[in-house]
Amino acid sequence: MINWAQVLFNSAVTGSLYLLAAVGLTLTYGLTKFPNFAHAEFMAFGAYAGYAIAEQLKLGFQYSILAAFLASAIMGAASYLLVFRPLTKRGATIIHLMVASIGLGFFVRHSIQEIWGGSPLTFRVTWGYFDVGPIRMTSIWIIMICSALIMALIMHFILTKTMMGKAIRASANNPDLAMASGVNIEKVALVVWMIGAALAGVGGLFRAADTRLVPLIGWEILLPAFAVVILGGIGSFYGALVAAYTLGLAENLGVVLLITLNLSTDYRFAIAFIILILTLIFKPQGFGKLFGEAG
């Protein structure tokens, strides 16, 4: 007997994680026009910063979230200012930028490994299970869903009601026109890189708290994050919103299917990859068209 309520709830959890991970990726991809593979390390760095606060300094988990947010924001800013903006100014091609992001990822990931070691780390905080009707949940999962939804509301507010938000949408849509209208594209880019990385950091922290922390934790979520970005339409926040939960649902339904077919549930990750490949080949704009312009 399949507990559909549980499947739906799990989908919401997965979708929330993917949303936090993908928002930054889709916005920077849309703005700077290349897929940033170091985004995985934005997630990892936030998780490790959070770990340092919670486990090493023994402060509360709420401070971890703040630490993850800030640490990754700084990393995002540094990546943009020290690596990607200079490279773009020197005429780097998309392939150059992608390879540079791989190099940056190596640099960060192995620095992390040098400082914290490569063995799995766990958070002391235990998230006890409790049942709400037919659904089994833990508090970290509730936190993840709430964080994602609050973030989505805040982003929606920012994108529609603030100057910066409108500037972001204009720049993603038509950078030349935006510049001509007085938008400081570089400032917009910096803000996008910082916020995007910060959210990813929080996402990474949640995943680490939910499972365990290893240096490759970012890469575990990176390809599904790309799937969300492509499915939702590159540069589209609202597209990512829909795509993240769609993918979460697809993945959890897929797990049900895998179990029924007696296949390994390891393949759940392949679901995201397959959706990614099929989207790129058959409908590369993803949901993007539905939402018109970016954001």
């Binding site: 290349f34 897929p35 690596v83 200079p86 490279l87 020197r90 780097a92 091609t93 998309i94 392939i95 150059h96 992608m98 390879v99 540079a100 791989i102 190099g103 940056l104 990822g105 190596f106 640099f107 960060v108 990931r109 192995h110 620095s111 490994q113 040098e114 890469w219 390809l223 790309f226 492509i230 296949l263 390994s264 390891d266 393949y267 990750f269 392949a270 990859f273 397959i274 990614l276 490949i277 790129l280 080949i281 590369p284």
Partner: protein
Amino acid sequence: MVRLVKLGDPLIYILDMAAFIGIFAILAISLNLEYGFTGLANFGKVAFFMVGAYASSIMANLGYPYLLCLIVAIIIAGIVGLLASLPALKLKADYLAIVTLAFGEILRYIIKNEEWIAKGVQGITVPSAITIAGISIRTMMLLQLTIIYAALAICYLITQLLVNSPYGRVVRAIREDELATQVLGKDVFKYKAQIFAVGSAMAGISGSLFAQYVRLINPYMFEPIVTFTIWMMVILGGPANNLGVILGAAFVQALERGARIVKDYLLLPVDPHNLRIILIGLLIIIILMYRPQGLMKESKIKTSALEVSSKWRKKSSKQ
């Protein structure tokens, strides 16, 4: 990765390093063909390396002679490359990179989870290509190096022939401007598919040699980091210069082996492996920033056209 050599004989360490350099140089040349010359962003190189390794090993475990195993590896890797390329090559560079990366991961997941193929995460043992009984380790190593470097020489020659020809000129043009190349009469998609197939077949050679050299393979040896290590070799050495990428392979592999030796013999406060990769990551960014053409610049297209050109005298001055 599995360490083949026992401690104690420094010559063996050096020969071991040379073996890995040879194996990875072939991979580097294959990526150079795809990216350096044709401009294809193949982020899934490890997949074809893996296919070659597993195909060759399964054949070897069935008792077939090594040459046959090698040929099977080449054919299967080439075919997989061709099939994978058909849907993917119509995509732009960034999409191609993501798709090839995802494809490699899917293949790895399949090998990891479908234990009937090759025992999944346990991995399989592989017989060596050299089946002469009772030889010393040194002799064995020298024979291995002979095979590996013979293969490298052949791959190098084939690639050089390809790039120093009108065909090579066309693929470089594809790299520079696909539309212009189409308008000048070349079926761009066909060229890209062919290059991808050749590059994948070459990766299969490398995989086969690798498997019989390290004697034990499992899915953990074929993670994306291998692909990106090859990319570093190409970027460092110089895209579109085969000698350059061989040098790049030597440098990166020497660093890896060197780090291993340091780790075994010295007690340092830092892990040399991490240090090595941190260094490489940094180096990649610096090279892309300040010398994107790499160590050695792009090689010229050397055909008989060059001779004609150098002997050319203006018609108006010929009397």
